[in-house]
Amino acid sequence: MKANSNLEKILERGEFAVTGELGPPKGNDVEVIKKKAQFLKGNVDAVNITDNQTAVVRMSSIAASKLLLDLGVEPVMQMVVRDRNRIAIQSDILGATALGLKNMLCLSGDHQTFGNQPDAKNVFDIDSIQLIGLVKRLRDEKKMLNLEDEIEGDVGIFIGAAANPFAEPFGFRPLRLRKKVAAGVNFIQTQCIYDMKIFKEFMKAVCDMGLDQKVHILAGVTPLKSAGMTKYMANNVPGIIIPEELVKRMAGVAKEKAAEEGIKICVEQIQELREIKGVHGIHLMAIEWESRVPEIVSQAKLLPRPVV
C-alpha cells in the first residue's frame, strides 16, 4: 500500500471504483461544500477537489479537501503546476499530507487566459509528468527534488494523473500514458468519454502495452444536462468529442425530459465502460449537479459502495 487511502484499497482489492468531483466555491462559504458533500457521501469512494479549475479563482484545493475529509468523505486533492513552483508544490504536499490527505491528482492546469485572472503570470516550473516523479520521490525515497537528505515523516500519497484520449494527436495519447506510468502514477482518471469508439481504441493500445497491469484507469463520465450543454460542449470545449448521435438524442427529447435522458445516457455509458478491459472504475464528474449523483450510481448498480 502506498497511502492506505480508501480509493487505493478499493482498487487494490479489484473492486470497481467510483470517484466523484466537487468544485470548491468562489468564496469561503463552508456550507457550499457541506451541501455538495451530502450527495456524494456513501455514493462514491473518493471525491476530486479541483484546483482553481478553468483558471477561475476558488477556495484552495487543500483547504476544501481537508473540509471534506472532516465531513467523512475521502478527497482526491488536485494540484496544477500552473500556479506553483517546485518550492510551493513541495511545501503544499507536505502540508496536505500532514492534514491527512492521501490522494493527489497531478495536472498541468488550464491556461490562465481562460479564467477570471487572464492577466496572471503563470509558473509551469515543472510539468505534470515531472510532478508525478516529484511526488513519487517524496513518498518512496523521502527525498525532495534534487536533494539527497531524507525528510522527516511519511508522505503517503496515492498518485493520480489525468489522460485525455480525445485530444490530438490520438496516436500520442497511449504513449503519454505510458510516460506517466513510467514516472510513477498509480491511477488515472480520463477526460469525460462520449465517443466509445475512440476510447476503446485507446484502451486497446493501453492494454497492448500492458499498462492496465501497472495503473488503475478510471473512465471519466459527465452526465449531459440539456441539449444546449451538449451542443456547447461538442463545439466549444477543446479535447472533448461528442458523437453526432448523442447530440441528436439530447436534442430529440422534450426540454423537461432532457435531464432524465442525460442521466439515462450516463448510466448506459457506465455499463458499457465497465465491460472494457483495463477500466477499473469510473470518475463521475457531475459538474454543478452533485445532487443527481445518488440516482446515477444507483441506476448504474454501483451501490452500495464497498467498505474496506
Binding site: S128, K179, A182
Partner: protein, 222 residues
C-alpha cells in the same frame, strides 16, 4: 531576430509631453528587419509627431537619425553631438538598444517607442512568429528542432496537455500546438521512441530566474 511593435501613439505622446527638442533614433538591425524601428519607421513616426505637434500646438522639434546597431557602443558614440542638442531621446530599437544608449550617454533620458516582444522569425511576408525564449538550456535535440519552451503555451517538456484541438493550442486557434508538431516530426523521422524519455525538471537558473545573465570570455578581453 528580435521582434517588436511600435507603441500606441497615445503612449508616445504622453512620454514626450514634457519635452521640446526630441531626437528620434532608429536601429538598422533586427528591429529594422521586422519593420518596426528602422530608418523608414523613424521617418514615419517623425512625420507623425511633427504633424501632431502642429495640430495640438505642442511645439516639438523633431530630429531623426538611424544607426546600424543600438546594442553596440561604437555605433552609438558618434551620436554625441545630436544627443547633446536634444532634451530627450526616443529610441525605436529593442529594449537592449534603448538601455544601451542610455548607458553610453547617462546624462540623457532615453524613452522607448517600441514594445520588444520576442525572438522570432519572419515566417512569411508581414508575419513574424516566436521561436526562442532564450532560456539558456537548449533542448531542441530532444524535440527535433521545435522548442517546447517558446512554442508551447505552458512550456511543457514531456508532451502535450489535454487541450490540443485539431493540432491547435487551446489558448488560441491560430496557434499550432508545439507538441503536435514535435510528435509529427518524430513520426516522420521514425523516432517516436524519443517520446518515452522523461525530461527531468530542469534548472531555470540559466534563464532569467537565476538573475540577469552575463557571459564572459576571457580570451576576448583586454
Amino acid at each position: 531576430m528580435i521582434v517588436g511593435d511600435r507603441k500606441p501613439i497615445e503612449e508616445i505622446k504622453e512620454m514626450l509631453a514634457p519635452y521640446k527638442k526630441i531626437l528620434l533614433v532608429g536601429c538598422g538591425t533586427c528591429i529594422s528587419v521586422c519593420m518596426t524601428g528602422g530608418e523608414k519607421e523613424v521617418g514615419i513616426l517623425a512625420s507623425e509627431l511633427r504633424m501632431i505637434s502642429e495640430l495640438e500646438k505642442k511645439d516639438w522639434e523633431i530630429s531623426e537619425t538611424t544607426i546600424q546597431r543600438q546594442c553596440e557602443r561604437e555605433y552609438i558614440e558618434p551620436l554625441k553631438e545630436q544627443f547633446e542638442k536634444a532634451d530627450v531621446v526616443m529610441s525605436m530599437a529593442c529594449g537592449v538598444g534603448i538601455q544601451y544608449m542610455a548607458e553610453v550617454f547617462p546624462e540623457k533620458i532615453v524613452l522607448p517607442a517600441v514594445n520588444t516582444t520576442f525572438y522570432g522569425t519572419n515566417v512569411k511576408e508581414g508575419e513574424w512568429q516566436e521561436r526562442c525564449a532564450g532560456c539558456g538550456d537548449c533542448v531542441l535535440d530532444k524535440t527535433l528542432g521545435i522548442c517546447p519552451v517558446a512554442r508551447c503555451s505552458k512550456g511543457l517538456y514531456n508532451g502535450p496537455c489535454g487541450g490540443t484541438d485539431n493540432g491547435k493550442c487551446e489558448v488560441n486557434k491560430d496557434l499550432d500546438c508545439a507538441w503536435y508538431l514535435i510528435y509529427n516530426r518524430m513520426k516522420e523521422h521514425g523516432k517516436l521512441d524519443m517520446l518515452d524519455e522523461i525530461i527531468p525538471a530542469r534548472s531555470w537558473k540559466t534563464s532569467l530566474h537565476g538573475g540577469p545573465r552575463k557571459r564572459v570570455r576571457e580570451d576576448a578581453q583586454k
